[in-house]
Symmetry: C2
Subunit: 336 residues, 2 copies
DNA sequence: TGAATTATATGAATCGTTTCGTGAAACATA
DNA sequence: TATGTTTCACGAAACGATTCATATAATTCA
């Protein structure tokens, strides 16, 4: 007799079908069972509208088919894209995803990790900023864009190559005197390598270059000041600018327009990330595109890989260049 | 004696502290326990680095403090924003969020709902498109933008008022002859009310108006054709256009520019949603802003509300207008 | 036909919590 | 001191699934 007002359990199904508990379990899990039994159980399942209780399964099996994703938010397109693609990769493997928006808050990052561990997730993927997160060794962790120490693989774009590519592109597009602009985290993380790559590329191509790097807390206006200082008689001394992110590129674009510079005629701009308007339309600016889908797939693959020893400390995936209207490729503009 | 290589359990803590299982449980849950016991237990917890197993808790309590959010994806800024704000509202209440990207796939929507129910989530928030989803009555469900039937509250912006507001704004900004453009779902959902609201507003203000509504599957080029037909001698007959979403507004903007129309000088455009570039910067276009944060809060509040009877069938939250460069408010443009 | 072998269904034990009836200890009262 | 009350720790039972040792039925072979 099934209890009132409560979801049916395996026991209820067993009673309904007139078989033992273990038999129902086998049917549910697709293990070999005599046909007559199987049919009776399947009928009972349909009749009672039975659904397994993943929590009971998780408790017994110590496996939950759930992973946690820590990202600052889903408002920034790059993070949103990561969340989307990681979700897809997990879906293919029948895994579920707990989304944890950390808002760049170190305390919240730690809270979410503790929560995830209590929830006995099968692993955590994290794009985090707290430099001393405490992660139990028993919980597999894969980091994005940051090296977190031994045993924790880091997945990132090839940021150095990306910086280099930006320099080469600007050079190919006719620039002679370029600038690199960066704002944000002083942490040692993979995206910081964009600077070295760009420098390297500039040297290789014989480009004149300058760098303006704002520390945490410095206001964006410093960039405006910097740019103004490089305007002589209405003319900007740079003919190309590489911004560390598309978001920054967008702000710089607006600033330059305010300073009466035409883009791309007077100065060309390349960003980094590969952000598109509304998710799937044009690129927000000419940009070095991160292979988000590949990053996602690699994160999931490494996270779920059993063999800890085979986990590499750092994986850098290849980036590419995409036109987005802020560089002077007239043949492409016509395509638009 | 604690087992090798496995996370410590309450039993381990009890043994370490020399107390009973129930006592540890009480300490963990903040129930009254004698001070000497409490201290011993707390020390043991620290020493063993014990963490509760939420799965065991969930099994016993039939309560998981987890809800599932079904949205098409996180790439579209509006959905991404929903995900972000719902996550925040849940966090305040110590709830976790399973993110399910459905990609507008009816089958996947149903799969996710079944999965969520097996996972014994405490509720589901869904912005779905499948017209006949099967949802167990025992799982609380709150719908966004779609009425799903009795017992399932629907949360939405006041789309009718939004359409009206768009007409009024265009009128205030000097438009005399306007158009409404819509593409997408033929489902009966709340956003469809934007059309009626706009019509109503146009009539009230004595605006000339035309509508162009594309069915599912019709190509975007139909809009271009429509607009071309309304260009006479290089001049568009409309001086204002209301697009059903910001995303559409963006596409129309590009099309109009291709047709040599200046925005906002020749024709003003208002979209709907309140999308911002890069999540927190300028609006993508002049727009009717959906109160996403309030929608999120309302969804969570209604979902977790115990009293089923107090759940309203439909909640419409107030929208507002925001300038985003595609309307002719010169005083605002100067602010930029 | 009877014994040996194989195949397969059974159900008790288990996972890590929470809950609650039980009983021991501490305190108050006469 | 003896008795009645109150307090609070104890630990068995339960949540719903899986697993595995056991029991039963079916099959094979002499």
């Amino acid at each position: 007799m099934k209890k009132e007002n409560s979801a049916p359990t395996m026991k209820d199904v067993a009673a309904e079908a007139g078989v033992a508990l273990g038999t129902v379990s086998k049917v549910v899990n697709g293990l070999p069972v005599g046909d007559s039994y199987r049919i009776r159980v399947e009928d009972a399942i349909k009749k009672l509208n039975y659904q397994v209780n993943s929590y009971a399964q998780g408790l017994k099996a110590n496996r939950t088919y759930t992973i946690a994703l820590l990202i600052p938010n889903t408002l920034q397109p790059f993070y949103a894209s990561l969340a989307y693609h990681i979700n897809l990769s997990l879906l293919k493997r029948k895994y579920r995803m707990l989304l944890c928006s950390t808002d760049y808050d170190s305390g919240l990052e730690q809270e979410y990790i503790t929560m995830a561990q209590q929830n006995k997730v099968d692993g955590i993927i994290g794009l985090t900023y707290n430099p001393n997160l405490i992660i139990e060794e028993s919980t597999p962790f894969v980091a994005i864009d940051r090296s977190m120490g031994p045993g924790i693989p880091c997945i990132a774009s090839d940021n150095f190559a990306g910086g280099q590519l930006a320099a080469e592109k600007l050079s190919d597009l006719g620039c002679k005197n370029v600038a690199f602009l960066r704002i944000g985290s002083s942490l040692t993380n993979e995206p910081n390598k964009r600077k070295a790559g760009f420098e390297n590329g500039c040297l290789a191509r014989g480009l004149q270059y300058e760098m303006k790097i704002l520390d945490d807390g410095e206001p964006f206006e410093e960039f405006e000041k910097f740019l103004k200082e490089h305007i002589d008689n209405g003319k900007l001394s740079f003919d190309g600018i590489f911004c560390v992110t598309d978001s920054l590129a967008y702000s710089i674009l607006k600033t330059l327009r305010k300073l009466n510079q035409r883009i791309p005629e007077d100065v060309q701009i390349i960003g980094f990330d590969g952000i598109r308007y509304f998710g799937d339309k044009d690129y927000a600016c000419s940009t070095i595109v991160q292979p988000v889908s590949e990053i996602a797939e690699m994160c999931v693959e490494l996270l779920l890989q059993e063999n800890m020893l085979a986990k590499p400390p750092l994986v850098c995936l290849p980036v590419s260049y995409a036109y987005g209207g802020t560089t002077a490729e007239t043949f492409k503009e016509q395509e638009q």
